[in-house]
């Protein structure tokens, strides 16, 4: 019986480690997540639809998705430039720059939230130059986008970096020798190689941005219908002790997470297959 479940091995500890990890996984992750789903399943269906399609909820989806989409797109452009600079060029401080790319992973979101608000406020270091141009960053959707760009940045750079290193230099050189211009080489050799990584990075950054809470709430101003993201709406529902309402919105967020996870996995499979064909 056991042999059909797993391939035999002389190494010990299979039962112990599998048992412990499965137990821990169930207790910490699966049981609480199923509580969320079951709580919502116990809700009246029409009430569920009312909650998740209320004007305030719809406005928050628009903001969360819109800002995350813009932030992830900005990251694709600048993330590519950053990754390119770090892989291809040598300049003083390159190693230092390479190390601080991961800063948003290590920096607590509350810290980046208050710091970005300070810098981009009307009297902040950067905000004071944007204000006369009529660009208000803090307490608008632009500020939210800036915060989401910061937390998504390392995802794009770290996914694209190895892909750029994979681009075969001799192919580029051959194309140039045959008379191709730099732009042609970029469009026909570099972009096709890096594309799966760029899309994966985009999806990772987007998935992280949609659920982000800590760095956004300080810079967003939190005006209902205007600058209120979906995670914040969940917190507000909880503070009103509307557990069912919070759970319904939570299920929407969870469904989005699953779709994103699926998209990321499919993109990675696609990217790997493309790599295989090229070799």
């Amino acid at each position: 019986m056991n042999a059909t479940v797993r391939t035999p091995s002389i190494l010990p500890g299979f039962g112990l480690t599998l048992g412990f990890s499965t137990f821990f996984l169930c207790a910490i992750v699966l049981l609480p997540l199923s509580a969320l789903v079951l709580k919502t399943a116990g809700m009246d269906f029409s009430r569920f639809i009312d909650v998740i399609t209320s004007p305030r909820a719809l406005a928050s989806y628009r903001l969360s998705f819109g800002a995350s989409l813009v932030a992830a797109s900005v990251n694709v452009v600048f993330g590519f430039v950053l990754a390119w600079t770090l892989v291809r060029y040598d300049f003083p401080g390159r190693k230092f720059i390479d190390a601080i790319i991961d800063m948003p992973f290590a920096l607590p979101t509350a810290v980046s939230g208050i710091a970005l608000t300070t810098v981009f406020a009307a009297n902040g270091w950067i905000g004071q130059y944007l204000e006369p141009l009529g660009i208000k960053v803090a307490y608008t959707w632009i500020g939210i986008t800036v915060a989401l760009t910061l937390i998504g940045m390392p995802f794009v750079v770290r996914t694209v970096q190895p892909a750029i290193a994979e681009v075969q230099r001799d192919l580029e050189d051959a194309a140039e020798t045959l008379g191709a211009g730099r732009f042609y080489v970029f469009r026909r050799i570099i972009v096709p190689t890096v594309l799966p990584a760029l899309l994966t990075g985009f999806t990772l950054a987007f998935a992280r941005a949609v659920g982000e809470y800590g760095s956004v709430i300080f810079i967003s101003g939190n005006m209902p219908m205007k600058t209120e993201i979906t995670p914040l709406l969940i917190v507000i529902r909880l503070e009103e002790f509307d557990y069912a309402g919070a759970a319904a919105l939570g299920v929407v967020m969870l469904a989005i997470s699953f779709v994103m996870l699926l998209a990321i996995n499919l993109l990675q499979v696609w990217g790997r297959r493309r790599m295989m064909v090229r070799r």
């Binding site: 010990p12 412990f20 910490i28 190390a99 991961d102 800063m103 982000e212 995670p231 917190v235 997470s257």
Partner: protein
């Protein structure tokens, strides 16, 4: 093929050859470097400097004074306590999960890996919400817990559980690909030569995975100490009691106590810097992320 007639033509031809730097490629190079630096400067460096500048706005004395506040000290203690419980537990989980996934072939393995990664995809607010639904007053175990006077939500256990959920995958994700790549040969040799399971793990496996382990643990720790959204939902924000450092930053900030808020933020920023330094040192030692 007609070669270049004189040295000037030769130079002109060389300049068009691939790999040769000319004025345009040099300009493009410095333009791209400038764009990269400006992007990082505005998004990363400026906010980081702003943390320390604001914390020291009123001088060193005011900066150190803000740590004399008992509520701030309580927040620091709570954060350290939480990390001290969460990080070891998730480390043990990470090692056991990596052992069974990397060393054995069994059905449902990739499903297990997907489940371990799940918390990374869930919004922090949802991560907190699920524990409120489970242990809160109207939750599944709410009535039972109240009868037995056990508080989980709005107390330390809830904070620990939410933090554990959020940092759950960090060690396992680092160790699984590493151990898969290292293979089973050395462990199998040790077992064949008569070593027991524990001896094999501590003497053969552990030395080979130590850098990956350090890497996972420091990232897990940084996230555990800095988590905001999930902890904010379960903590109830009782000042001096259930506020971790990030939550205490929010309270001070909303009271316009900027020196206090940014002083606490400066501690967490230093933690982030130390994390990055250790991470870079680990990478220097030859460890490569997979």
């Amino acid at each position: 093929m007609a070669g270049p007639a004189n040295s000037q033509e030769l130079l002109a031809e060389l300049a068009t050859r691939p790999g040769h730097t000319n004025l345009r490629s040099t300009l493009v190079r410095w333009l791209l470097i400038a764009i990269s630096l400006a992007f990082l400067g505005a998004l990363l460096a400026a906010p980081l400097f702003a943390v320390f500048a604001t914390a020291l706005e009123k001088g060193w004395q005011a900066y150190f004074q803000s740590f004399a506040d008992p509520d701030t000290q309580a927040a620091i203690r709570l954060t350290l306590t939480t990390a001290a419980v969460v990080v070891p537990l998730n480390t043990v989980f990470g090692i056991t999960a990596a052992w069974c996934i990397a060393k054995f072939e069994f059905r449902g393995k990739s499903f297990l890996i997907t489940l371990i990664d799940l918390p990374l995809a869930v919004s922090p607010v949802v991560s907190g919400l699920i524990y409120v639904l489970l242990f809160g007053l109207n939750g599944w175990f709410g009535a039972w817990l109240q009868d037995h006077e056990i508080s989980i939500v709005y107390a330390l256990p809830g904070i620990i559980l939410a933090t554990m959920f959020v940092t759950f995958p960090y060690v396992a994700r680092e160790l699984i690909p590493l151990m898969q790549q290292l293979g089973n040969d050395e462990e199998e040799a040790a077992i064949t030569l008569g070593a027991g399971g524990w001896l094999t793990f501590f003497r053969v496996t552990l030395p080979r995975i130590r850098w990956g382990l350090v890497y996972g643990v420091i990232l897990c720790n940084a996230r555990a100490m800095g988590e905001f959204g999930a902890v904010s939902v379960v903590s109830g924000n009782i000042r001096g009691m259930t506020t971790t450092m990030p939550l205490h930053i929010e309270i001070l900030y909303n009271e316009y106590n900027f020196v206090g808020a940014f002083a606490v933020a400066s501690l967490l920023s230093m933690l982030a810097v130390v994390t990055l330094v250790i991470k870079t040192l680990v990478e220097r030692s030859g460890y490569r992320r997979r």
